[in-house]
Amino acid sequence: MLGGVATEQAAPAATLRPIRLVGPAAAGGPEADGAWAAVHRAMTGEGTAVVYGTVADWQHPVPGEPDLAALLGRESERYEAFDQPAEQVRFAASRRLVKHTAAAVVGALPEELDLGHRPSGGLYVRGVGRLSVSLSHTEDLMVVGVSRRGQLGTDVESTGREVHEATAALCCSPYERAALKELAPELRGPALLRLWTLKEAYTKAIGQGLRFPFTQFGFDLDGERPRLCWPDGRPREASLWHIETHLVPEAYRISVAVAETTDGTPAATVLDPAIMAAARRAGAVSDQ
């Protein structure tokens, strides 16, 4: 039985179960309130939260929202540049979900956040260096991860998506290819899909995405807390990585990778008021 190693050892319990958000905190009724409370609990307890929602949930302006241009800020130009209305709807919905989630975590208003991209493509909230964000989507499902532990990546695929076995040669390590071959044929597709989302989540977390060779690292083949492995299947000293993969009831697989690089103190950019006051005071003096 392959991949059994992970389950035989007492694998740590999964703690980053994705939370479905159907709308912003203020407007969603008891169900939404419960979900947002879970987000805050996850941030307090784990320093990381993974949420998801559908385009339909998030495509409409939420009560009290300024106009879309104000919400999107500098990204309005990107919104305008989409040819298809459906793409615009999806883009706006994804920004609403990201900004509401990140804003709730840092205690800001969604429209105050300026989303930027790292040169490698990763999303971040400009000027709030202590918060990592990750966005991924497939079909109509959007997944957002937020963390104050360190770099973070997420990925989502529909479980109905067929993955051709030839993909394994392109994206799997030698160990993974051998392990997949030993599985019953009907299990290979789901196992490959699981590996794919894990690899996407991990390479996004290290800021590389598809540019990083997927055959050069791997995971074991089962469990919600997979271990990061060398290409030959030996586990990597991966204490720095917290990796999870989950199936959600909507029939999607969601994977997340977080580097545990910081101590996890609160995410808001809290700044020494004395230093700010000194700079203000000095500024006021030099103005005179």
């Binding site: 300026d114 040169p119 800021g207 590389q208 990597r236 103190t265 809290v270």
Partner: protein
């Protein structure tokens, strides 16, 4: 026989390069890192060179004259091992700067003697994020008889285990108080050094806590002046100088990645024979050059533009480490699985990534730079005159006058350079014209946003603060090319190819839509990187010959 020119910093940097290059190999450094130790014999080599003298002003018997020279010397250490350089810099140098600035003649003399005879200093900084509620700092209270006493604790103090003296910043009701404690105070009952804390970056670095139950404050240990002003002044120097030194670590990562590319060439037999590798190397080298433009300018501004250097130093600490981390992240696609190796011929790459991430994300030091920038944004809409000498690495500098380092600037330090460049390049058809125009447009948008900022600007202010820092970086790069590189003898630096790449990448970070095709520039920059690899030259603006 080689005789070193010990008088000039360039000569001393070269001497140290060769001393370390000959006697401190990567295998020993990696093995020590694995054990969370400094490389065996590393400190002895630095002592043999006389590193401590670099921290002591000339008039007190040392060799410290200019900050840019200090950076050149220390960069040689950071190229070999981050922890070996970071220890003395974060401890002895940072503490000593405060003593040189505000110490009494006796305190200065004693501190100089301590350093010159092999002693070590460290510094206990205040908690920069007091709202976190950890109370991770020392404070001044009163004894029962009404005398001032020190109490509290600090979890991470660099090199506390072996420190002979320390500068302690302690919170008072209305600010900070700075004290210089020697062995006498450190051995008092109620003063305890806490065990070492291991960190994932800077593994060889020794950090521990300090706990003070209660220490009546002696009358003669205070450093003069206001403690907060002293801290802010010292920060101006270290925020510019320390990341500038750490560029050496990023250089080693690039060298390691190129070593891998040479050892395992692309399919066509060329080390950088496919576009992905070539671009990764070109972008990473461009990021290092951009960082050095920013560092050079910020360090020189301490001497040349002290009234506005608070903004530049904060920008250097905020953006510089990010540039290095981004560049290394691109290179990891070249190395593949080797990125994760902690041993072997490419192990230095992963080590550099870990170490630089520490400079980059050290909380709250980096976000705290925004605490300097954000309140000044409304003032920074005023363009100040930009001295050209800021942009000339190695050109003579006036003395650094500590008390001239203003806690807040009266105008934008470098923005004027963007406007001047946009004007000069307005008619250039090549990418330079549009790139400079795009930067000028970004500057105008920033100034508009900054003028609208209220006093309690929140998250919007932080975002603008970051944009400001990125634009200062772009201005530094433009300035270095316009006022230095294009007139110089180095054909690579005189060509605008590297500048185009640097500016395009900075505009991408600002989310500006301009995306010029820069294949030729990328080829040029990648070829130079490979050239410097084979010629064993540094990947900074100076391109000096390295040891080892």
């Amino acid at each position: 026989m080689v005789t070193w020119d010990l008088v000039s910093a360039a000569g001393r940097a070269a001497e140290l390069e060769h001393l370390l290059g000959d006697r401190l190999g990567p295998a020993a450094v990696l093995a020590a890192d694995e054990r969370y130790e400094l490389p065996c014999g590393g400190e002895a080599l630095l002592a043999e060179f006389g590193l401590a003298e670099e921290f002591v002003p000339v008039e007190l018997g040392g060799r410290l004259a200019g900050t840019d020279e200090l950076v050149q010397v220390l960069r040689a250490v950071f190229r070999r091992d981050f922890a070996l350089g970071y220890g003395p810099v974060a401890g002895s140098l940072t503490a000593a700067l405060a003593v040189w600035a505000h110490g009494t003649p006796t305190q200065r003399r004693e501190t100089a003697d301590l350093l010159l005879t092999g002693g070590r200093l460290t510094v206990v900084e205040p908690d920069f994020a007091p709202e976190d509620g950890h109370g991770d700092e020392l404070a001044v209270g009163e004894t029962e008889s009404g005398e001032p006493r020190l109490y509290g604790g600090k979890r991470s103090v660099p090199g506390i285990g072996r420190a002979d003296a320390l500068v302690a910043y302690a919170r008072t009701e209305d600010g900070l108080r700075a004290e210089l404690f020697g062995p006498r105070e450190l051995s008092r009952p109620g003063v305890r050094r806490l065990p070492r804390v291991l960190t994932e970056g800077n593994r060889g670095g020794e950090q521990g806590g300090l706990y003070v139950e209660s220490l009546p404050l002696p009358k003669d240990t205070g450093l003069g002046g206001d403690g907060l002003a002293l801290l802010l002044g010292a920060h101006q120097i270290t925020r510019a100088a320390v990341p500038a030194m750490a560029l050496g670590t990023a250089e080693t990562a690039l060298r390691t990645a190129l070593g891998y590319a040479v050892d395992s060439p692309a399919r066509n037999g060329q080390p950088l024979g496919d576009a992905r590798r070539r671009d990764a190397v070109a972008w990473a080298f461009a990021d290092l050059l951009a960082a050095d433009c920013l560092f050079t300018t910020a360090v020189r501004a301490l001497h040349l533009l002290p009234g506005r250097s608070s903004l530049l130093s904060a920008a250097a600490k905020y953006v510089g480490p990010q540039l290095m981390v981004d560049g290394l992240q691109d290179l990891s696609a070249v190395l593949g699985a080797e990125t994760f190796c902690t041993w072997g011929p490419y192990g230095m790459f992963g080590k550099a990534q870990r170490d630089l991430r520490l400079v980059h994300s050290t909380y709250p030091g980096t976000p705290c730079c925004l605490a300097t920038i954000v309140p000044q944004l409304p003032t920074a809409v005023v363009a100040g005159a930009v001295p050209e000498a800021l942009f000339r690495p190695g050109a003579p500098l006036p003395e650094l006058v500590f008390d001239a380092l203003a806690p807040a600037a009266d105008a934008d330090p470098l923005g004027g350079e963007i406007l001047a460049a946009a004007e000069e390049f307005a008619d250039r058809a090549e990418p330079l014209g549009p790139l400079a125009a795009a930067l000028a447009a970004e500057l105008a948008a920033l100034r508009e946003g900054a003028a609208e900022l209220g006093p309690d600007s929140g998250t919007r202010g932080y975002a603008l603060g970051e944009r400001f820092a990125l634009l200062q970086t772009a201005a530094a790069c433009l300035g270095v090319w316009r006022h230095w590189a294009r007139h110089g003898e180095d054909a690579f630096l005189a060509d605008p190819g590297w500048l185009l790449l640097v500016l395009a990448r900075l505009l991408g970070r600002l989310e500006h839509p301009v995306r010029p095709k820069l294949t030729e520039s990328a080829e040029l920059v990648a070829a130079e990187a490979l050239d410097r690899f084979h010629g064993v030259r540094s990947f900074d603006l100076r391109g000096i010959r390295l040891g080892g």
